[in-house]
């Protein structure tokens, strides 16, 4: 199988692309999601405050 | 006026749920038919080689039993919840755990016991030996009550939620894995000529643990869900 051969010839690329890149991608996505969530929450809170102020 | 004792209460609740199940027989039958169907589909899916089927039999029967007990769990509390009976149970001076235990026992008798009784017939379809069949029935007998009891926790937590049925399976199935492992392990052990005592005693221990803790946990879950 070609993947098997390739993997044995380029172990470091395999490790980096397969494990570390994926892991760091997951971390990056999580960080992005958390920051996005904070932005949305802040916007919601402001909307609530503005709506409350008009009442 | 006479006060009802705790065992009396247990009997009352079990009898009530059994009478209700008998008057709504279709529900009980669908669970059983589902079980039979899932088990019968496996040979169609993997082919009729008897050797393979004999090997798979215990696993197939156990997984099917697990799935069909999930199917009936949703109804465990929801009917009582909708018509207000559950509310009354929470206000009863007796311990809610006892009432919950009664409902668990009734649920097992309605949805677990028929599966156990049906298992030999299906086992024969898979060409199981008499020994293995006996062990399988014994393991189901010990294991299915645990499924009802652990499932009751999930049923109480998902009470009245939309999409409760799927969620219920998602919550309960991982918790049932040890039962599945020990149950099928026992059958494999006897097929390999080994003793089944450790499997059975572990299943028995799990059953005792479940018997002690799950009614109380389920009662707490009901209180959380009913608030």
């Amino acid at each position: 199988m070609s993947l098997d051969v390739w993997m044995r010839e380029n172990p470091l690329t395999y490790i980096w692309l397969g494990s570390y890149a994926v892991a760091f991608l997951v971390f990056a996505v999580e960080v992005a999601m958390v920051i996005h969530k904070r932005k949305i929450t802040l916007r919601q809170v402001r909307l609530m405050r503005d709506a409350g102020g008009e009442e | 006026m006479k006060k009802l004792s705790l065992p009396g209460l247990l009997v009352l609740v079990v009898r009530r749920d059994l009478v209700l199940a008998m008057r709504r027989r279709a529900d009980v039958l669908t669970t059983l038919i589902f079980f039979v169907m899932v088990v019968s589909l496996f040979p169609l899916g993997v082919g009729p080689e008897m050797d393979m089927l004999r090997k798979m039999a215990s696993g197939v029967l156990w997984v099917a039993a697990l799935l069909s007990s999930m199917l009936s769990l949703g109804r465990l509390f929801s009917a009582d919840y909708l018509d207000g009976t559950l509310e009354q149970m929470m206000l009863a001076p007796q311990s809610l755990s006892m009432l919950v235990l009664g409902k668990m026992v009734a649920h097992w008798m309605v949805s677990g016991l028929p599966l156990v009784l049906m298992a030999p017939v299906l086992g024969v379809q898979f060409d199981m030996s008499a020994n293995a069949l006996g062990v399988l029935i014994l393991s189901l007998l010990l294991g299915t009550p645990i499924l009802s009891m652990v499932g009751a926790i999930g049923a109480a937590l998902t009470l009245g939620l939309r999409g409760g049925g799927v969620l219920l399976s998602l919550l309960v199935l991982p918790l049932c894995i040890p039962v599945l492992i020990f149950g099928t392990g026992a059958v494999e052990a006897i097929s390999a000529g080994l003793t089944v005592v450790p499997h059975m005693s572990l299943l028995g221990a799990l059953l005792l643990l479940a018997l002690v803790f799950t009614p109380w946990v389920t009662a707490q879950a009901l209180r959380i869900s009913m608030e």
């Binding site: - | 006026m1 009976t85 009354q88 206000l91």
Partner: protein
């Protein structure tokens, strides 16, 4: 005591909180000087709650329903007594029918029958008169009067006027 208020003013919530089905956001509820959270069993054996829902099973007959719900309340009721109670509530001849064939008012009566077999001192009734006809309302007034005579307490909500002869009702208005 009669609790009054518009729809959504919190009557049901108040009653549910009183019987411990809901936790108060603040404060405590006392029964005979004890917090109901601690006096769990004593409180619940002296209290009976009837909510919007009838808490009866469609598949069971009126008689079975009464015996079982009394059993859940911790009381053993013999058949003769149960039949008597059902008869008094005007369900004569329908005791053995499954409840699903009865009318709304008749189901409400089955639910009310629990009150008559219980010896609870405190009745908490949410809309007890819903779906009841004039005769049943009269009967309800009679029942409440009897209960009060036995030094009982009743807390109820209603939109209909409920007059109990010889008793001054206390009113609590939520608005």
């Amino acid at each position: 005591m009669q609790v009054e208020g518009e729809n959504g003013s919190g009557k049901t919530s108040l009653l549910r909180t009183l019987c411990g089905l809901m936790m108060p956001a603040d404060g405590k509820i006392f029964w005979r000087g004890e917090d109901i959270k601690e006096a769990d069993e004593e409180y619940y054996s002296e209290m009976i709650y009837l909510g919007h829902l009838n808490a009866i099973k469609d598949e069971l007959s009126a008689l079975e329903n009464l015996c079982i719900s009394a059993g859940v309340d911790g009381l053993e009721v013999d058949e003769r007594q149960a039949l008597q109670v059902l008869r008094r509530l005007g369900l004569k001849g329908r005791e053995a029918l499954p409840v699903k064939v009865l009318s709304q008012g008749q189901r409400r009566r089955v639910a009310l029958s629990r009150l008559l077999v219980s010896d609870a001192a405190l009745w908490i009734l949410d809309e007890p008169l819903a779906a009841l006809d004039v005769r049943a309302v009269d009967l309800m007034q009679e029942l409440i009067a009897e209960h009060l005579e036995k030094n009982g307490m009743v807390i109820f909500t209603t939109h209909q006027p409920l007059l109990v002869p010889g008793v001054e009702l206390r009113r609590l208005s939520l608005s």
